[in-house]
């Protein structure tokens, strides 16, 4: 999509992600919500950023790396990922949402649409409901951090719009997400 500029960065991330996830997730069961590149993202998401106005103003490459960013999300608001059949926000997901909240605080004219997505397993009607609960979980967290509810819209796409159309846990993990779309 709009990832031409950062193609090389992304390619590098993908390679890294592939390696790290393979080594991290050895169990066949669907417990691995591996973020695209958890290992190299540590500088980006200190939990304290919520109260730091400076945490926003992304100068592209810095904010494009890390947990919430991949070829389908290049900012400024990062996506969050979920375990199988879960709407629970992991520590990494919470960190990403705090970062998103900080950005939204500093860009008060912007609104966001939060799309809930699921992997293709299970039945599609159930996944439509699950997707909405994921979007809602992300929205509720942001509202608790002080973002006005009216600035955050949610929608579910269930399993209808997968990001990665492949099969297997690597692809599924990328599709279990709340995806942020900026709205003016």
């Amino acid at each position: 999509m709009k990832s031409k500029i950062n193609g090389i960065v992304i390619l590098a991330l993908m390679v890294t992600a592939g390696c790290s996830s393979r080594s991290a997730v050895t169990a066949p069961e669907a417990s691995g919500r591996q973020a695209p590149s958890p290992k190299i993202s540590s500088p980006v998401t200190p939990p304290e950023t919520v109260s730091l106005p400076t945490a926003s103003a992304p100068s592209s490459s810095a904010s494009l790396s890390g947990y919430g960013f991949d070829q389908w999300q290049n900012g400024p608001l990062g996506d969050v990922f979920y375990d199988f059949d879960s709407t629970v926000l992991s520590a990494e997901a919470q960190n990403q949402l705090k970062q998103n909240a900080a950005w939204l605080e500093n860009n008060s004219a912007n609104k966001a649409l939060i799309e809930g997505h699921c992997d293709s397993r299970g039945t599609s009607e159930y996944n439509m409901d699950l997707g909405e609960r994921r979007a809602s979980s992300a929205k509720e967290y942001l509202v608790r951090l002080g973002i006005a509810s009216s600035r955050l819209e949610t929608v579910s796409f269930g399993e209808e719009r997968p990001f990665d159309t492949g099969k297997g846990e690597d692809a599924w993990a990328k599709n279990r997400r709340a995806h942020f779309v900026m709205k003016k």
Binding site: T123, Y126, M128, D129, E132
Partner: protein
């Protein structure tokens, strides 16, 4: 459109036979079939034509009737012996019942078709071969474009005569297909013929369901940017929506005036009853978490649905008058997509097994008599009963991509319903047969 009325059948038959004889014959055949003695062996003869030019017409109609009857799984279809007709001199044709009996035919059907300046006339006779008794003789009319309807009208009469129940002829199946690149709603006849696209929203259209009287199509549509319930009046083309925030998905009709669907405008995902104008009639579920996929008992007093109130999704039954809720499924961790049988005694649903296998099960409404209908064939989903309860249409990925399949409600004779590009899914069989 069908143009033959049972009144006509009744009048014609009563003119020919004393009522008591007919009732006795009918009862006998119903009894034979109910005993589960297997299929009825039917000798179906090729249609006669008055002139050679019409032999192609007769062949087409032969195939329509043969394939239609064969599709139901009720018959063992055999060709009559060559010497089935004796004394073939003059006008009078006499059937050789001895010969029919010797090849094991329980029922014989045959007749003639003619085309008089664009008007097709099919005349059919049906005999009980053991008693050499005429069970049905009837004339069907229509234009050449209605050839399939003409053939099916006879099939419907024959099955109702032999089984005492309405047949599937005249019923429709609605489903989702992505063959244009978008998920749109389509319909076809019960046997996969007469494929027709019903939506063209270039968005995502999902979970179609026809009202029991066939007047309305309810489905979920993303045209507005979010999943919303559309209730389309198929005769007038008018669409009603609910106009609430949040999602509305997976409708199930309670009767021809009320459809239930999941809405989330109050925060939690709950099932509501909606009138055909889109207004909310009342809320049906009150549990925290997902409540989804309503399917009603034939009298509309009970609703099977999916709830994840205990963690993973299971099927529950709510008694609407009392509001009492009981859990139906206990085996399997992930049970969804309930479909209540037309007779009211069974519920079909799907269990997601380990790996990427999903299977269809049928259980009694008290949870007894659990039976697995599919196995080791990929993802088998979205079971929906035929209006006579004898068959189930479903989605299967057994050949790779998702396609529509059909089986007897016992699980026997699983086969593809139609050949179409792309993936087909979420079939829903109409309650009506006209």
């Amino acid at each position: 459109m069908q143009f033959f009325r049972y009144v006509v059948t009744a009048v014609m038959i009563f003119l020919c036979f004393p009522l008591s004889l007919f009732a006795a014959e009918r009862g006998e055949y119903i009894a034979i079939h109910k005993e589960g003695s297997g299929k009825i062996t039917l000798a179906l003869n090729k249609l006669d034509v008055p002139v050679k030019e019409e032999s192609r017409l007769a062949e087409r109609l032969d195939a329509i009737i043969h394939d239609g009857l064969d599709f139901t799984g009720l018959f063992t279809m055999i060709s009559p012996p060559i010497n089935v007709k004796t004394n073939n001199s003059g006008e009078k044709v006499v059937l050789n019942f001895g010969a029919l009996d010797s090849v094991g035919a329980a029922v014989y059907a045959g007749g003639a078709v003619s085309n008089t300046s664009g008007s097709i006339t099919l005349y059919m006779e049906v005999y009980d071969t053991s008693g050499a008794k005429l069970l049905l003789n009837k004339t069907y009319n229509g234009n050449p474009q209605q050839l399939r309807a003409i053939g099916y009208a006879f099939c419907a009469d024959l099955i109702e005569l032999l089984t005492g129940k309405k047949s599937i002829f005249g019923s429709k199946i609605v489903f989702v297909s992505n063959k244009t690149g978008f998920k749109e709603i389509y319909e076809c006849d019960f046997d996969g013929h007469e494929l027709r696209q019903l939506t063209n929203s270039h968005s995502i259209s999902l979970t179609p369901a026809l009202s029991p009287d066939g007047r309305y199509l309810a489905y979920t549509d993303f045209s507005s940017g979010r999943p919303a319930l559309y209730i389309r009046d198929l005769s007038e083309g008018k669409i009603s929506t609910i106009g609430k925030s949040g999602i509305s998905i997976d409708p199930g009709w309670r009767n021809s005036r009320e459809v239930a669907t999941t809405l989330s405008f109050e925060g939690d995902q709950e099932i509501y009853l909606i009138k055909t104008d889109g207004s909310i009639s009342r809320r049906l579920t009150f549990s925290k978490g997902i409540d989804l996929s309503p399917s009603f008992s034939p009298d509309g007093n009970k609703m099977a649905y999916v709830s994840d109130r205990n963690g993973l999704p299971q099927i529950f039954i709510e008694d609407l008058p009392s509001g009492q809720v009981s859990r139906l499924t206990f085996s399997g961790r992930y049970n969804t997509q309930p479909s209540w049988s037309p007779a009211g005694d069974k519920i079909a649903y799907t269990t997601w097994e380990s790996g990427s296998e999903i299977n269809i099960f049928v259980t009694g409404i008290d949870g007894s008599g659990l039976k697995q209908l599919t196995e080791k064939s990929g993802e088998n989903e979205s079971p929906s009963w035929s209006p006579d309860g004898r068959m189930i249409v479903f989605t299967s990925s057994r050949q790779g991509s998702k396609k529509l399949y059909i089986m007897q409600s016992t699980g026997e004779n699983q086969r593809p319903l139609l050949q179409s590009e792309g993936e087909q899914m979420q079939p829903s069989w109409s309650k009506f047969c006209q």
